[in-house]
């Protein structure tokens, strides 16, 4: 864990009314690091991303601390005006649904230029030229022409690249991507992933990459956080977690995506049961009602086992060497 810390999230609790959605989420990302946040839908991944940007819906409340390099104080306590200066400059986000992420009545180039004009002192013309250059960086064909197009004239993959260009416009310290390729064709996915990695590498930005797709995490990220039931249940370097998962949930998730094993058994293994609705997870270990290894002990919250929040797991009956997967 060398290098400058860009994002530090500590004890993040998110709730709607009395219903807890995230519990004690703690993690950090250093400059230039690419961290994956994985889990099934409903596990709280997107909420974590939105909380980092302070973009939670009005009736959702967050407690804890979110600290960002170069910003004084806790992001969760800043007012909307301060936050609006940080968003898009220090931290930017790419969302899941490219088809609806852009304003249909405004030209693509103007939407990129707006991000630049908001945070930099420059003329409209300069911003427009910079926008075209950004569109070129995200490999949009004929960027000058694309800048004059409306979103509906572009494909989903092209639109997502425009959203990426907007996010990268001010060289953010941290880029949050929330399932940016889930809605795209497989062929386009690889291209967009490559652009994301190149974009953050060129700027030495930190990346928080939210996805449910383990293979995407494997190609994009160095570290991974596994989330279930609003808690981080396991964390560590991608290589290690994927080869030797400790938490039983991570193990199940990996088995469910292991295509090699599936060819032998003809069907993918699945995790029994389904993700409970938000706030309805069992007390103690959140995974215990779906876990085949659960005992009475699991009715109390398992403590974090590991050298740091960046590496470890929260499980009483961790998997060991026996759970080797992949090649």
């Amino acid at each position: 864990m060398s290098g400058q810390r860009v994002l530090q999230v500590e004890g993040l609790d998110v709730s709607v009314g009395r219903r807890g959605l995230l519990h004690d989420v703690t993690f950090s990302i250093d400059r230039g690091e690419r961290v994956g946040l994985i889990g099934e839908s409903g596990s709280g991944k997107s909420l974590t991303g939105l909380a980092v940007l302070g973009l939670l819906p009005e009736d959702v409340h967050a407690r804890g601390t979110v600290a960002l390099a170069g910003v004084d104080g806790n992001l969760l306590e800043l007012d909307e005006r301060r936050l609006s200066h940080i968003r898009g400059r220090e931290v930017a986000m790419v969302f899941q649904e490219p088809m609806t992420a852009l304003n249909p009545t405004s030209r693509v180039g103007d939407q990129v230029a707006e991000a630049i004009l908001l945070h930099r002192r420059c003329s409209r013309g300069e911003a427009r030229r910079a926008a075209v250059e950004l569109l070129d960086q995200v490999a949009l064909p004929a960027p000058a022409e694309a800048a004059r197009a409306y979103p509906h004239q572009l494909s989903g993959g092209q639109r997502q690249r425009v959203v990426l260009a907007i996010a990268l416009a001010n060289d953010p310290e941290l880029l949050v991507c929330d399932e940016p390729t889930t809605a795209l064709d497989v062929t386009v996915q690889a291209l967009v992933l490559d652009l994301v990695v190149r974009g953050v590498t060129a700027r030495d930005s930190a990346l928080l990459f939210i996805t449910h797709d383990l293979s995407v995490v494997a190609t994009v990220c160095e570290r991974v956080l596994v989330m279930y039931g609003g808690r981080i249940v396991e964390a560590g370097p991608v290589e290690e977690v994927f080869r030797r998962p400790r938490h039983r949930y991570t193990q199940g998730l990996l088995e469910a995506s292991d295509l090699e094993q599936a060819q032998e058994h003809t069907r993918l293994r699945t995790i029994p049961g389904s993700v409970p609705p938000a706030g309805r997870f069992p007390a103690g270990c959140v995974f215990r009602n779906r876990c085949t290894h659960a005992t009475r002990e699991c009715e109390t919250l398992p403590p974090w086992t590991g050298p740091s929040p960046e590496q470890g797991y929260a499980c009483f009956h961790p998997a060991h060497e026996t759970a080797q997967v992949g090649s």
Binding site: E58, R87, M93, T100, N103, P104, A115
Partner: protein
């Protein structure tokens, strides 16, 4: 895009022709002989027959219809059964009066509804927003003529600030014109504003939930900025639809309000013509109202093209 405009123009013309048939058919099936009414109960059959010939009422319906729309196409609306005066100039004068009233009411409705609806949407969870919402609900329930009577009671009779009725053309006495226009335009406008406010509110609430607003906020726009720069234009699409429909409602509302405020507009012309059985005038006024509504809808459709680039399919 050009194709769309051409097609829309075609639709406009077709509906115009269809509406002439409908309006004419309606008048033809109404009971009562205009000539008999014009001359009174004591008139001789001979006199009545002569008048029928004079108006062309003795001809077959098809011939009557054709001569009517033939006249319309040349802007000749015929002559009144009662006053024997040409109808065209009369309707033109009255239309101007009604247009002043309706357009002013529309402007009032817009000026009230757009900011109010926006505030209601932005504060929809807070007490102030809920209170405004409830008030506008009350406004929706009040008919324009009742609002007119209330306004007269308070501002004309009670406070004596404004005249209770009457009409002065703007070129004659601009000050008096404004004074006399205020109360009727308000009574039409406020009620429309209440309705429109609710549409503005829900349009903005819908837009604020859109993904592109979230993108805009992730860029660093405050909610208000995001709404102004990215929401308003998109929210205006459903609002303009309602505005188009409301203009039709306003024209009808004007008929009643003109009565309350004794304004010589199209509405009072229509009511007079109905009570005098001056069927040709009724027919013409209704036709003019239909035309106005059709043209407004046509303009609304063209506005969509300007606002929403997705509809400009053939461009680029």
């Amino acid at each position: 895009m050009l194709l769309r405009i051409l097609r829309r123009t075609g639709i406009l013309l077709a509906s115009l022709v269809a509406s002439t048939v409908l309006v004419f058919a309606f008048m033809a099936v109404l009971p009562g002989d205009p000539a008999r009414v014009a001359l009174g109960v004591n008139a001789s059959d001979e006199a009545v027959g002569q008048l029928r010939r004079e108006f062309g009422l003795d001809r077959p319906l098809a011939a009557q219809y054709l001569s009517w729309i033939g006249g319309l196409a040349r802007f000749d609306l015929g002559t009144s059964y009662i006053s024997h005066a040409p109808i065209g100039p009369q309707i033109a004068d009255r239309l101007m009066v009604t247009l002043w009233l309706v357009v002013t009411a529309m402007v009032i409705a817009l000026v009230v509804a757009v900011p109010l609806g926006t505030v209601m949407a932005m504060r929809h969870r807070r007490p102030s927003g809920v209170l405004l919402s409830a008030l506008s609900q009350v406004g929706v329930a009040v008919p324009a003529f009742l609002a007119g009577i209330l306004l007269i009671t308070v501002f004309a009779i009670g406070l004596g600030w404004l005249p209770a009725n009457g009409w002065t053309p703007p070129d004659q006495d601009p000050v008096m014109f404004v004074k006399q226009l205020t109360l009727p335009a308000l009574s039409l406008g406020i009620v429309q504003a209440a309705v429109l406010t609710r549409y503005v509110r829900s349009a903005i609430l819908d837009v604020m939930r859109e993904d592109y607003i979230r993108t805009a906020r992730a860029k660093g726009l405050t909610p208000t900025q995001a709404l102004r720069r990215h929401g308003m234009r998109n929210a205006s699409i459903p609002v303009i639809t309602v505005l188009g429909l409301q203009l039709a409602t306003l024209l009808i509302g004007a008929v009643v309000v003109e009565r309350v405020f004794v304004i010589p507009g199209l509405g009072s012309l229509l009511l007079d013509a109905v009570s005098n059985r001056d069927l040709i005038v009724v027919q013409d006024v209704v036709m003019v109202l239909v035309l106005a509504v059709l043209v407004v809808n046509f303009v609304v459709d063209l506005l969509y093209l300007v606002i929403d680039p997705r509809l400009q399919v053939s461009s680029r």
